[in-house]
């Protein structure tokens, strides 16, 4: 089926963004309202499409729209085409829904910023790019949205780029993303060389004939792309620094939507991964490493936003891992993605609300006992907290439990290892989130003098409340009657696999709940009483390494930055002295030989006479030699 409306999803926010940028200060008074309305209207369009989709039979739910031929050279044909199927509608609703809530939140949060209009222009640009990412019908169209959200992220992280370290964080994010884009570029090349097409449909048709090498290579390249965008190992280091952006940005881009694009990419490319087991294994490994990596970092962070960022990294690790399990896992990856979208966005907005009340203080060591002063924030935050650690029946419980179960179900020793890693992750998640809760909302007051915590205005807490509701209920809604699994099946699980159970579901659930209890209990014991205002310094080497983000920046610096800078210096010198040196050497040798030959011109008649004589003799001799 085709639809005429899909383009508006992308065009409306893009137009609004351009308008706000071009009008400049003239739009200052109404820009934020306009942008929010546009964002809301995309949500309405998305919802209408969703209801229309439900009404159609399963086979014809997907709709497409071809706009125009974008690039066409020889056999390389790429249409500017959009496709809205069961997978992308889930994203469309998440992006526009959470996006609109965050627009509303930002109206209040950014009200004192002189550049609020610019902020909203960027937000709308992000919405447009993100929608293009999930709606594009080929890897190249997806690429446009992919880099578009990267640009939006760059602009928003560096929104306060007058501070040099914020500008650096923005640059770091963009470059790490570019390293991922390298993977996407190569994947596009592999796709064209093998299948003669870059559209999802075109590749899927021919995927059976492809060699294992090509599919594995393409899968690994897509994984690299996903790692860049979703802050997965080894390209994870940018996400912590990205917290330099305004908090609504962290909630929308760096928690709920953009960073999950990697999961979308892998799920969308299911036809590649399902045929490339090696690449799938790599996906699982990356997921596991990152979920533990992020969780461990989260334990040592005192900066509330960075702790949440580490948590995001870890939760996306779960999703990536799940998507590596193939048809059994895609639906749960997407389900966790959606529930995570709710509770993590809610948590970030809550953190923003706390910062708003505490003069932009982010250090949890300077919080404490805020529950009484910020009741609404602490309740919505608390609901998000229950959801993320996986307390039944909150959202995270359903989605995480299912991922752990699928991990065990891969079977054999492998399954036990995967499942245990996921369980360990759940323990640590429960630990660091409980720590965060206790340090922020309970315990002794450790405020900076002058802090007057107060509840945030309605425009801020209303979105938080909606998200908290989602954190509470979305898991059940998505999972009851296997709704999400059945909904996504036509896209990701066409053959309707039935999966063997390795452990009975109830055992896994029990294990997961026990894991949560352990984590919470340990955190309670450790962070119950009075805490000091500064982080203790007499700590083990482990804690110190964790505080340094497990040396991720040091590793990057040692492996890439330093050698890169050295190489650049050497090349600049080489260019100067060797290559240009060679050129200048030619010049100076001409000059030098001219200087030498000038000596022949002495000005003495006798020298000239002698030369004439010698010349005549040589000519004579030559003539003789030639005649003989």
């Amino acid at each position: 089926m085709t639809s005429e409306n899909l383009i508006y999803l992308v065009a409306l926010p893009l137009f609004s963004s351009a308008l706000l940028m071009l009008l400049g200060r003239r739009a200052d008074r109404w820009g934020h309202v306009f942008a929010t309305l546009i964002s809301a209207s995309t949500f309405v369009i998305g919802a209408m499409e969703f209801f229309a989709m439900i009404d159609r039979p399963e086979a014809s739910r997907a709709v497409t729209q071809k706009l125009f031929t974008w690039i066409s050279v020889g056999t390389f044909n790429v249409d500017a085409g959009l496709v809205l199927d069961q997978l992308s509608i889930a994203f469309v609703l998440l992006i526009t829904g959470v996006g609109t809530l965050i627009h509303i939140y930002s109206i209040a949060y950014m009200s004192h910023d002189r550049d609020r209009r610019r902020f909203f222009a960027y937000l709308n640009f992000f919405i447009a790019a993100m929608l293009l990412l999930v709606l594009g019908d080929s890897y190249l169209n997806l690429y446009v949205g992919w880099e578009g959200v990267g640009l939006a992220s760059y602009l928003l992280i560096g929104f306060w780029n007058q501070q040099p370290e914020y500008a650096t964080a923005a640059k770091k994010a963009f470059v790490a993303n570019r390293a991922g884009d390298f993977g996407l570029s190569v994947a596009v090349m592999i796709a064209f060389a093998n299948f003669g097409a870059v559209s999802f449909v075109g590749i899927e048709e021919k995927v059976d004939g492809a060699s294992q090498t090509a599919l594995t290579a393409m899968g690994l390249m897509l994984l690299l792309a996903a790692a860049g965008k979703s802050a997965q190992f080894p390209l994870q280091a940018w996400l912590g620094d990205a917290m330099a952006g305004p908090t609504p940005v962290s909630a929308l881009i760096h928690a709920a939507t953009m960073v999950t694009a990697g999961v979308y990419l892998i799920t969308r490319s299911n036809f590649i991964f399902d045929n490339a087991p090696t690449a799938q294994l790599a996906v699982v490994m990356v997921g596991i490493i990152t979920l533990l990596f992020g969780a461990v970092i989260g334990m040592a962070k005192d900066d509330i936003k960075k702790a949440l960022a580490a948590s995001t990294m870890s939760q996306i690790g779960y999703m990536i891992m799940a998507s590596g399990f193939g048809p059994a896992g895609y639906a749960f990856a997407i389900m966790h993605l959606l529930t995570h979208g709710f509770f993590k966005a809610g948590l970030f907005l809550g953190a923003g609300s706390v910062m708003h009340g505490m003069n932009d203080e982010v250090n949890m060591r300077r919080y404490g006992g805020l529950a009484r002063f910020m009741p609404i924030t602490s309740i919505t935050f608390g609901l998000g907290y229950l959801a993320i650690i996986g307390v039944p029946p909150f959202a995270g419980f359903y989605s995480k439990d299912k991922i752990i179960e699928t991990a065990f179900n891969t079977g054999g020793l492998q399954g036990v290892l995967f499942g245990s890693a996921a369980l360990l992750g759940a323990v640590i998640t429960a630990f660091y989130m409980t720590r965060l809760m206790l340090m922020t909302f309970f315990g002794n007051k450790r405020w900076v003098s002058g802090a007057e915590p107060h509840e945030s205005p309605f425009l801020m807490w209303a979105p938080m409340a909606v998200l908290a509701l989602g954190s509470a209920a979305s898991g059940y809604l998505l999972y009851s009657g296997k709704a999400i699994v059945k909904w996504l099946a036509p896209v990701v699980d066409r053959d309707h696999h039935e999966h063997a159970e390795f452990l009975p579901a109830i055992v896994v659930t029990t294990l997961a709940v026990v894991a949560v209890i352990i984590g919470v209990a340990v955190a309670f014991i450790k962070y119950r009483g009075e805490l000091s205002e500064s982080a203790p310094s007499d700590v083990s080497i482990f804690t110190r390494v964790t505080r340094r983000d497990l040396l991720q920046d040091d590793a990057n610096e040692f492996l890439f930055m330093r050698p890169g800078q050295k190489l650049t210096q050497v090349l600049v010198k080489t260019d100067e002295s060797v290559i240009d040196g060679a050129v200048r050497a030619v010049g100076s040798s001409v000059l030098g030989s001219a200087r030498g030959m000038r000596k022949l011109q002495t000005g003495y008649v006798r020298n000239y006479a002698l030369l004439i004589l010698i010349g005549a003799l040589v000519a004579l001799l030559a003539a003789l030699v030639v005649t003989i």
Partner: protein, 99 residues
Amino acid sequence: MNPTNYLYLSAILFSIGAVGVVVRKNAIVVFMCIELMLNAANLAFVTFAKINGNLEGQVMAFFTMVVAACEVVVGLAIIVTIFRSRRSASVDDASLLSR
């Protein structure tokens, strides 16, 4: 007498003249050496005319003499002018090139 002996004489005279041009500094002497070379050439011309039994060589000798006379006029005039301005008849002093 064998005419080739004249040619040897001509060659010796020419060489003396050439060496003189190269080694002597006095402009007048250099000039005389040039004359010597011209006359050596004349001698060779005349000798060849004798050997070949025709007149071309002799005619050339006359031409050479005319040219030499003109050259003496112009050359001496230059030497005198240089001597007047520099108070020296040395050819080395006439060099204007810097070293």
